[in-house]
């Protein structure tokens, strides 16, 4: 199927977004040539050992034609916070910006715009960001993303701007054609001392097949603080492959939550590079896989400079034939002395056919560091169940309460209270289903 994408690129390249910018065309060409060399990953690749992508590879996906589909509010409302009118949002439906559902009234000087608009208005900055990215060289799906990216959001936080309300970037997918794919690219640029909570949300309100390939790049400048929450609620027949790459400068803070509940096959890469001293990074996640869902998180925290701290907590709930994969890579470079890293992956298996593959990978080249990691796999605790039932809770109620309780540890790490409340409701919906 590699050939399908190569020839499809040749057919499409002159019509892709930003075709008038030679530098962007050059990047697309470079990306497709990387992909031409690598092809799709297989389970022989160390980074894809537990995730077989052949179910995506064998389908000749094409770009979304943007055939706009109307959704009633009652289809979409359950996914979004009740007070969402108070938040800034960019709303995409089947790859096209939906102006009416977007809300850009509370921006207070922050730029939030569509990718194509940003190409026109912030060309120099975008060019700088794109030309510095190298990550697509190690990830064939990211290379495809760079070749085909069509839409997405550009967020620019000016110096010292602190935004109290979250910014939602929403991608709703429900194409009429089951060969449809969506390639989105998001860029968040947080200038010195700025602060915001950004939610990236993928929703498949109906049961249909499509493929989302998304890449997000976040640059956190000196002393800035960004919270990023990725909520993946794709249709249960959809494929979602995403990557979030973060560059952190001096004394910056970055917190990420990955909530992955939907999709037939999901792969999420999170990578943060602590590029200057004093940075703090926290990568957290909660994944739930039921039925035959497969969800893979590949996380990398790169301590490139001394005196940085990283924290990581991923928790999984696996039921039915659900399969979870977690890889937690921590690199401590040679001169990154006094690095402080802690990683934990916990998994709850609710059925005998559920499966988890968890792999910590520590690559430590400095000698004065504090690094620890752990992984657990367990069932619901019989003593806890007995305790709750002895208080009059029915078996099902007791189980649900314990599973809910299990998720709270991750939800409580979300700093923005509006987002936290929203996620809490989504988790309850998901567990109740």
């Amino acid at each position: 199927m590699k050939e399908h994408y190569l020839s499809y690129f040749q057919k499409q390249k002159d019509g892709l977004c930003g075709k008038e910018f030679p530098w962007l065309k050059r990047i697309r060409e470079e990306a497709i040539s990387v992909f031409a060399k690598t092809g799709f990953p297989t389970t022989k690749d160390e980074r894809w050992k537990h995730t077989d992508v052949s179910s995506i590879v064998q389908i000749p996906f094409e770009l979304g034609n943007g055939a706009k589909k109307e959704f009633s509010n009652s289809t979409l409302d359950p996914f979004f916070p009740k007070n969402s009118k108070e938040f800034s949002s960019l709303f995409f439906v089947n790859g096209k910006l939906d102006q009416e559902r977007s809300n850009l009234n509370r921006l207070e000087g922050v730029k939030v715009k569509n990718f194509s608009q940003a190409l026109r208005e912030d060309n120099d900055l975008l060019r700088k960001v794109f030309e510095s990215q190298t990550s697509f060289k190690n990830n064939p799906f990211l290379a495809l993303n760079a070749a085909f990216m069509e839409n997405g959001a550009f967020v620019f936080l000016p110096t010292s701007k602190r935004l109290e309300y979250p910014i939602y970037l929403i991608f709703v997918s429900s194409p009429t054609n089951d060969l449809t794919s969506f390639y989105s690219k998001n860029i968040v640029f947080a200038q010195e001392g700025s602060q915001a909570s950004i939610v990236e949300m993928y929703v498949g309100p109906e049961k249909n097949r499509y493929f989302v390939n998304t890449a997000t790049q976040i640059i956190v400048e000196v002393g800035a603080s960004i919270e990023h929450t990725k909520i993946q609620l794709e249709s249960e027949d959809a494929f979602h492959i995403g990557a979030v790459s973060v560059l952190q400068n001096r004394s910056s803070q970055f917190t990420s939550q990955s909530l992955s509940f939907g999709g037939a096959l999901t792969r999420n890469d999170f990578c943060s590079v602590l590029n200057e001293e004093g940075g703090e990074c926290s990568l957290n996640g909660l994944y739930i896989a039921k039925g035959k869902q497969h969800v893979d998180h590949y996380t990398t925290i790169d301590h490139a400079k001394p005196h940085c701290m990283s924290r990581e907590l991923y928790k999984g709930i696996l039921d039915g034939h659900g399969h979870g994969v977690f890889t937690g890579k921590i690199i401590v470079r040679k001169d990154a002395q006094k690095s402080d890293a802690y990683q934990m992956n916990r998994n709850l298996l609710l059925s005998k056919d559920a499966l988890i593959d968890t792999t910590p990978q520590l690559e430590i080249f400095a000698n004065d560091v504090k690094c620890s990691h752990g992984a657990t796999v367990g069932k619901l605790d019989e003593d806890e169940l007995f305790y709750l039932r002895s208080r009059g809770l029915e078996l099902n109620t007791a189980r649900n309460l314990l599973v809910q309780g299990y998720t709270n540890e991750v939800i409580d790490l979300i700093k923005n209270k509006n987002v936290q409340q929203h996620v809490k409701e989504l988790v309850l919906q998901r567990l109740g289903a």
Binding site: D381, E382, D383, E384, F386, Y387, L388, R389, S390, R391, G392, L393, E394, L395, T397, A398, L401, L402, Q404, G405, Y406, T407, N408, E409
Partner: protein, 260 residues
């Protein structure tokens, strides 16, 4: 209220309870004492419905019904409450939420109206005073990071809120200093009433200085080997369990002596 007849219970093939008889009537407080390994906690957990224990023989009726055919939660709905020797901690579930969920599920089964969060909080605040518990503990995760004394008070608080008809207190005194013991015991005493029975399981007699039982039974190797009034506990304290264990076996009582 509770009638246990010739009960034999085993776990993993080992018989722990070996022919136990006990008759508990409304309003009575029975103390069951015994050395470690005598089967006290097994009895408590078995009565609450713990499924890891296996019934080998005998019967247990509760308010005239077959207790052993009821699930754990059905027993709770019928008014059985076990105060655990080692209450589990459950990170992620708030103490107040567990209390309210438990309270309302029992109310529902008893065809009583459920209480909303506000009314329930008022009820709990009143009960919290009974066990002199720091009300901050309500907002914390269940028993998570609680001291030994706080956990035991929390058990008695649950009992006060859930208003059982038969309360089984499994070594509620273990791990408590005298002050905590006094508080817990006075909480228990406040809950004594004519239509509520209690089984107080303890290793030491000191708890019985505070919760004065109507009857004392000595459990040894899975059987009640001696029964008596409150003086029996004093005698045990003086002479130790070896005194009982040396006596010939077979003294288990079906009918309780009165006024020994």
């Amino acid at each position: 209220m509770l009638k246990i007849t010739n009960l034999h219970v085993s776990i993993d093939g080992n018989e722990i309870i070996k022919g136990l008889n006990l008759d508990v009537r409304d309003g009575e407080v029975h103390a069951i004492m015994g050395p470690n390994g005598s089967g006290k906690s097994t009895l408590a957990q078995f009565l609450a419905g713990r499924e890891t224990y296996e019934l080998k023989n005998g019967s247990v009726t509760y308010k005239g019904k077959n207790l052993l055919s009821m699930s754990v939660e059905e027993r709770a709905w019928e008014g059985i409450f076990l105060a655990f020797q080692y209450p589990v901690s459950i990170p992620g579930i708030k103490n107040i939420n567990l209390l309210r969920t438990a309270f309302n599920s029992i109310r529902k089964r008893r065809n009583l109206p459920e209480l909303d969060a506000f009314d329930f909080l008022n009820l709990v605040k009143e009960k919290v005073r009974l066990v002199e518990m720091d009300s901050d503990l309500l907002g914390r995760a269940v028993n998570d990071g609680f001291s030994g004394g706080e956990k035991k008070r929390n058990e008695i608080l649950q009992m006060a809120v859930l208003e059982p008809t038969l309360a089984i207190l499994d070594e509620t005194d273990s791990g408590l200093d005298i002050d905590a013991l006094r508080i817990v015991a006075s909480g228990v005493n406040a809950l004594r009433k004519s239509d509520r029975a209690m089984i107080v399981i303890t290793h030491y007699q000191r708890l019985l200085d505070y919760i004065v039982p109507d009857y004392v039974h000595v459990l040894s190797e899975g059987m009640i080997v001696k029964s008596g009034g409150r003086e029996l506990a004093k005698e045990l304290e003086k002479k130790g369990y070896s005194w009982i264990e040396k006596e010939p076996k077979g003294g288990s009582t079906v009918h309780l002596p009165t006024g020994v």
